[in-house]
Symmetry: C2
Subunit: 449 residues, 2 copies
Amino acid sequence: MSAAHAGPVSESVSHARGPVSESESHARRARRAAYLESASSIRDALGGDSGSWRVRDVADGNLNSVFLVDGPNGGVCVKQALPFVRVAGESWPLDINRAFFEASYAARVAPDVGGLAPALHHYDPDHFVIVMEKLEPHVILWKGLIAGQRFPRAPAHVAEYVAQAAFHTSDLAIPFERKFADVALFAKNVALQRITVDLVFTDPYVEVWRNKVTPPLEAWAAALRSDNALKSTVACLRLAYLNKPQSLLHGDLHSCSVMVTADDTRVIDGEFAWYGPTGFDVGNFLAHYVMAWYAQSNHPGSRDDHDAFRAAIAADIANFWLTFRRRFLEIWRDSESTGDGVPASHFADAAGRARLEAFRHSYLKAIFRDAVGFMAIKIIRRIVGFAQIADFLAIDDEARRAEAEAGALAFARSLLLQPDRFAEIESVVAALPTFEAAGLDPNKSRAPR
Amino acid sequence: MSAAHAGPVSESVSHARGPVSESESHARRARRAAYLESASSIRDALGGDSGSWRVRDVADGNLNSVFLVDGPNGGVCVKQALPFVRVAGESWPLDINRAFFEASYAARVAPDVGGLAPALHHYDPDHFVIVMEKLEPHVILWKGLIAGQRFPRAPAHVAEYVAQAAFHTSDLAIPFERKFADVALFAKNVALQRITVDLVFTDPYVEVWRNKVTPPLEAWAAALRSDNALKSTVACLRLAYLNKPQSLLHGDLHSCSVMVTADDTRVIDGEFAWYGPTGFDVGNFLAHYVMAWYAQSNHPGSRDDHDAFRAAIAADIANFWLTFRRRFLEIWRDSESTGDGVPASHFADAAGRARLEAFRHSYLKAIFRDAVGFMAIKIIRRIVGFAQIADFLAIDDEARRAEAEAGALAFARSLLLQPDRFAEIESVVAALPTFEAAGLDPNKSRAPR
């Protein structure tokens, strides 16, 4: 693999030493310029000659090298997969073919999500490189939220994205032959699914070296590990993740995979793409807003600031689901379906159409039920698992951080153990303050069963 | 495709004229002998020289050419896929690669099902030929049942087969990476899935040219076509078939895919193999026993004969499910699981093991619930769809045949509309006589909703 890995960003693997620095060699810069010049789609996007192009290293995710390149005509973003987890180094190898799956995912959903994703200029399978539209002055939604900024349009935009991608890759929209061609393709994206299966669904419920937890939360982590009813529900959700190819998932759709301005929203980073339950993407996005809600009161700022931010986040949560639901139903009603899932010929007369509308509503109810479970799973993995999130890590005071995290954990536990309480998004939003003061003793906050 | 298709059985496709007859040419026989001689596994199984080999055409299924070849050492069965549906002729083309999927399926389940399937000697991807153990004096289970013969060991044998194949190809047994390699492989078996999706799940509920129905049943067929509640349930089952890769299915597991003697049982014909809900194979097998039950009283014989046969069939139905359930649980308990579905580490202590046992039981309950639905679907498609079955067709008196079929349809409708009545196999068996006299008016027999 290492011989094949070269190209614009890294040296061959054996020489890769992380992001390219200011002191990089002239030869390396020249090789990169030659690479960028080699694709007409990149040359056209940048314009001018390569000597005038400006390159900036902006990698800040966990996995890949990312560069922005500007030329006289415009800019591009160059993303190259490395054969290991960038933040961990070569000790954590990772299948480099994720670039193929990301490019395949982007190409598959592009016709339906339109301007809600960056335009894809170029995919280079030999160097595992994707070149796409540069997004500036966009910021990562996650960072914006942590800084207390508001992006009121983002939830509805992401809801539109998920509704379009989910509907149009499902058996509601396309013949199963077309769907299963993609099921077969993304079924090979197992390296990144191993991360999800282990880090999201398995590790948080056992003692594993790579789990991290804020020390005052040890009792909470132990309570989750010993809760067999909860782990049964987790098993059902893990089986659903592996056994429900309902639609093509982004697979990592949270606020760190979304870039925003006040008006514009783009979903990026589809390398975890996978055919799975639609509720997984929905629940993942909701989970990170829920965590933003729980983290907020412990950040600097006045009480009024916090209350206003939380009210806005709660509105975002409701808005995201309600927009997703409304748009999914509208797209379904408007579609001239060629899908095999629910043949139009079976519901062709007036009574049939009324029944089909009821069927649609129950289909959305089932997505919501799945989303509630996956939301809980995603909250738990960010607090007692390997990959902590900045929302909570930004709280310097460990005791306050643990209190905020305990609230989110208590909320997540209730989602898993009492799903019937959460049949509507309004119940989810209303429950947020209920668990805020859950506290560090997991037994005290246990809701009646 | 036609140039590649030749080999032991057919001329090249453009010259295929159906099964090879006694008057086949000398050249053709010589070519076939040369073909059979070319594989050492076949030469070894037959022994002697090719001049001493005896070849018999035994094709009686719908799709393929099948020959038995005997030599001094033993016999083999040679099955060649044709690029069209054998019984329909070249006007109904069919993907010839089904031989690949059948061979892949047989190879995949062989380690687990052992002697419950014929041994596979040879697979020839160039000629779409599978050479396997010759089964003699076995008969097709279906034909035996129609003739009133008893095979009391067959249901438990098939139950063992399904339990082994289903468990060992599921997330309960194997890492998801291995499972999804097979999901990807069988996701390409879409040509035969198109038959299932159309003929089983779709056509019986709309007016389609190829549907057939015994004329007195027209009112029943129309009632099913206009029952929107029933078609909603059918939509859920169709979506489950397309969206629940729980285990590798045989995909066509009924009594015509089983060969038996009094003591020996072999499952054959896995070309419909597909990752789907385990309950699909279970329900399919049950459906054909249910139809045998409904058909029987209308065949020649004394009333006592019929009662005895029906009691035996009812016992077979219970025995099949109870054996499947018991064996699936035993295999699960005994397995040193490497599956990702329900990690052993999550249920390692005594309380965890007790919880896991409860989880196993609910898993089996869910399979049964699926099986009840698929059983109903399979009954309906055999009575108002394209492919009728010999059980009913053997009843010469059209009025009596329609009465028998109406009973089975009324039973199937109740399975779909009132699944909570059928949470246990005992309820299924007890309900059989309830619907026997349902009669030709579908509105009269409608059970309370």
